[in-house]
């Protein structure tokens, strides 16, 4: 089994200006804060970011927005990040809204080597605009194309050296889907374990989907429980 352990600088170094990047996480859990810090440091520009939400000010992908690295955001909800809303309203950030589960399925479809899905979600709403509608047994349905990316940045609680992954609780969210859908999937893991330490029945993402594994030396404060007023 290939050993995929990589230093963080090298794991991120392939990300070039204009690339598309999927970023795991729904709210805080599952957001790869350490990989994001390194991405901000290396600072490739005009990125297309695919993520469920825009995190909150000062956290997660807000750091990419603040650094002006993001040209387009494909998301389901950005209401908790005033900067994202402001950049969008000022025309400095393109935002494409997807219904959350359709975003998940479009990503999964790419990860499953499909070209798209057929769904009745969004029919009769603004989200139908620009989409191909077909008739499926008398029901109006939309063709939603698969959504892939050059890179996926993923946070896992455990990884082995081959890239078999486990996620913790609701930190799983979009991560297994994005790990399937990117050309290069980079994982930061809280714990790296030897081959054979993960029970094959309990692996959430099988190793063949993963290209690079980065061990986290410290779990920074960014990962802590957020204590709101």
């Amino acid at each position: 089994m290939r050993n995929k352990l990589t230093e963080i600088e090298e794991a991120i170094a392939g990300i070039r200006d204009g690339m598309s990047i999927m970023i795991g996480g729904f709210g805080m859990p599952g957001t790869p804060f350490t990989l994001l810090d390194e991405l901000v440091r290396q600072a490739p520009k005009n990125l297309t970011i695919i993520k469920n939400d825009a995190n909150e000010i000062g956290m997660g992908i807000d750091l990419l927005l603040k650094a002006g690295l993001v040209e387009k955001l494909i998301a389901s909800h950005i209401g908790l990040n005033a900067r994202a809303v402001e950049q969008m309203n000022a025309g400095r950030l393109k935002v494409e809204f997807n219904s959350q589960g359709i975003l998940a399925e479009r990503i999964r479809a790419a990860g499953a080597g499909l070209l798209g899905i057929v769904t009745d979600i969004g029919v009769g709403t603004m989200l139908q605009n620009g989409k191909t509608a077909i008739d499926m047994d008398g029901v109006t349905a939309l063709i939603e194309p698969a959504l892939k990316a050059d890179y996926a940045l993923i946070h896992a609680v455990q990884a082995d050296t081959f890239g078999n992954l486990k996620f913790a609780a609701t930190a799983r969210n979009f991560s297994p889907l994005m790990a399937m859908a990117a050309g290069t999937t980079v994982v930061e893991a809280e714990e790296i374990v030897a081959l054979g330490k993960l029970a094959p029945d309990e692996i959430h993402t099988p190793g063949p989907f993963v290209q690079k594994v980065v061990g986290l030396r410290v779990i920074s404060e960014a990962y802590d429980v957020v204590r709101r007023a």
Binding site: P29, A75, S76, H77, G101, A104, R172
Partner: protein, 218 residues
């Protein structure tokens, strides 16, 4: 809305949950319904970020950094809970396995159309999972004030805002009354104690059918 009216809405909404139901309670008021459910009722609460079997909110001191609901609140789980990815989470929703969802609203039309995701040029948080919840839950109940902050009715003949989903709402629980969406339009089912039929009619932006004398909810 007074805190009394809010309390009454939540108590009334809690009566909609049946023992054994699988439900999704939207961000905001719906999330707070759970605290008003009686001890004889256990429901499987689904949150679209990937959990079925949510319990109460977690105390800050006991919070698990990896365990939140879709609103970002740290939560606990009940015995029998499961975690899953976002594709499976919305499979549960779209497959029709939610007995009930409760959502907020900007506008509800008398044919059941719901608008709750965008006020163009003003407030654009994004759709989140609301479209799928509204379109696919077996039963959709809206919790909302009867009128907006400017006093404008939120129950209307036709939505003026972009839709979340068409013909999806079954029942509306407001701070004044319980209103059903029937084939004949809005139907007054219950009045909150102290509220008159005339007040509800005046604050509803579409005809209100009253087939039976409304029950009074205390």
């Amino acid at each position: 809305m007074s805190s009394d009216a809010r309390e009454m809405m939540l108590r009334r909404a809690a009566l909609e949950l049946n023992d054994g139901d699988t439900v999704n309670l939207g961000i905001g008021l719906p999330t707070k319904v759970l605290a008003h459910v009686g001890p004889s009722i256990t429901v499987c609460v689904h949150s679209e970020n990937g959990v079925a079997g949510m319990g109460r909110l977690a105390e800050n001191s006991a919070a698990d950094r990896n365990l939140i609901d879709a609103g970002g609140n740290y939560i606990t789980t009940l015995a029998g809970a499961s975690y899953f990815d976002s594709a499976v989470s919305f499979a549960i929703i779209r497959r029709g396995n939610l007995d009930l969802t409760m959502l907020g609203a900007f506008e509800v039309a008398s044919n059941g159309d719901l608008a709750n995701w965008i006020i163009p040029g003003k407030f654009t948080p994004g759709t989140g999972g609301a479209m799928e919840l509204a379109q696919k839950a077996r039963r959709v109940i809206v919790l909302t004030t009867h009128v907006d902050k400017a006093g404008k009715p939120k129950l209307v003949e036709q939505c003026t805002l972009p839709l979340t989903a068409q013909r999806c709402v079954h029942r509306i629980i407001t701070d004044l009354a319980v209103v059903d969406v029937s084939s004949g339009g809005f139907e007054l089912v219950e009045l909150f104690a102290g509220v008159s039929v005339e007040e509800v009619k005046a604050k509803t932006g579409a005809p209100l059918v009253i087939p039976h004398p409304p029950a009074i909810f205390n």
